[in-house]
Symmetry: C2
Subunit: 218 residues, 2 copies
DNA sequence: TAGATTGTTAATCGATTAACAATC
DNA sequence: TAGATTGTTAATCGATTAACAATC
């Protein structure tokens, strides 16, 4: 029975990439061991939080020295599935879609974008950052051929749901949704929503607070 | 004394734009009142959560009918500061920066992007989505002239910290950081980090779970 | 050794959810 | 009126933080 999955430890999982970044950097600076304290300092977090988070990867540290950098990197990558390649498509090759196709960081961490889709005839048949672009109305034809695991949805919002339906119909189970539409999908499909408006809301509230402080201090 | 501010109710604030979207839609469909139950159904949330969140805007609903749509929209917009125009610059006019300059949604909600900055000589002096692009080494000259409140940072990560320093030096207090660098800023400056790798981490874990379920059910 | 750092167990904190009287 | 929906107060849940013994 497929019920909508809730990912537990979500906040910890979200911090892991930051840790990975710091640990890789420390390693490339010659550090064989990396302590939770160092990571915490670098990221303005509490050391205890870093230790708790790292525990979910199953890695064991050495008192006084920290965690073995190489093992820890491997463990985080494995926990996230970043040590395996995952085929993905980008649906909507506008500015945002193009940006994502070009992100080396994702490529380095297992995200293998093998095709893009767009409605613009001038893009169809071309390549963006090396990725071939297909007609968006060929989703039903191309997806079964190339069998991607992940779909990245970056179309204008009026087209989001109908393109999502095509994606789901063709058996893709993971959708990275960059539109501001709440997608309707069956329970068996998971959607990771990347909601820029929620970030903008936070930015706005912070900006208001900054303005208020300025006024108070003058 | 300026200490690093923690925004309280962050999860609620992040949900407000979604509510706003649903309420606007309901209103444009002729709804004079919108109930928390309706919003919750639309977004797969609990009604009680919606009511709690809406309470922070100060608006008062009517039992049996719901919240007055027009008042509620105004109240959310006001709470977020989206009813006022905020001048912003985009630092780094690559694909992502260009995408943000073109987002009508932000424009409609008070984000007024008045200038872009880039290192690419072919872009300097041109306009992207109507926004004039300046040389990135002119930050110190242009910012004082145009006095933006907000800087949106979309440069490649090796340049993130140095550009951030220029931004801070010129008195901007709110930074929307799309790089994967943890920026070092004084306490008086707030940074909203838009961390795509944390979203990618969540997507990856969800994808793993989907694959595992598939294997178990076969 | 002394002391920094780990991992575990318990306490705190904040957000979500439940219960329910009030009311249109 | 009856019943859906609100707002408030209390309970639950999960994440963060604190305390501290173990250890290299």
């Amino acid at each position: 029975m497929a019920t909508k999955q809730k990912v537990s430890f979500a906040p910890s999982i979200r911090r892991l990439p930051q840790y990975l970044h710091v640990i890789r950097q420390a390693q490339s600076n010659g550090g064989e061991y990396v302590s939770g304290t160092l990571i915490a300092n670098e990221l303005n977090l509490e050391p205890i939080q870093v230790r708790k988070d790292l525990a979910i990867t199953g890695i064991i540290g050495k008192p006084k020295r920290g965690y073995p950098a190489n093992e820890l990197i491997k463990a985080i990558e494995h926990f996230l599935g970043w040590d395996i390649s995952h085929k993905a498509i980008v649906v909507g090759a506008g500015n945002l879609g193009s940006a994502l196709m070009g992100y080396q960081e994702f490529k380095n961490n297992g995200l293998d974008i093998i095709a893009g889709f767009d409605a613009d005839p001038s893009k169809i048949g071309s390549r963006i950052h090396g990725v071939p672009i297909h007609a968006i109305d060929k989703l039903d034809q191309v997806i079964p051929e190339i069998q991607p695991e992940i779909a990245i949805l970056t179309v204008p919002s009026p087209f989001a749901q109908s393109n999502c339906d095509s994606i789901v119909r063709n058996g893709i189970k993971s959708i990275w949704n960059f539109t501001n539409i709440k997608l309707k999908v069956p329970d068996s499909v998971s959607v990771q929503r990347e909601d820029l408006s929620s970030g903008y809301a936070m930015l706005s509230v912070m900006t208001q607070m900054a303005t208020k402080n300025k006024a108070e201090n003058s």
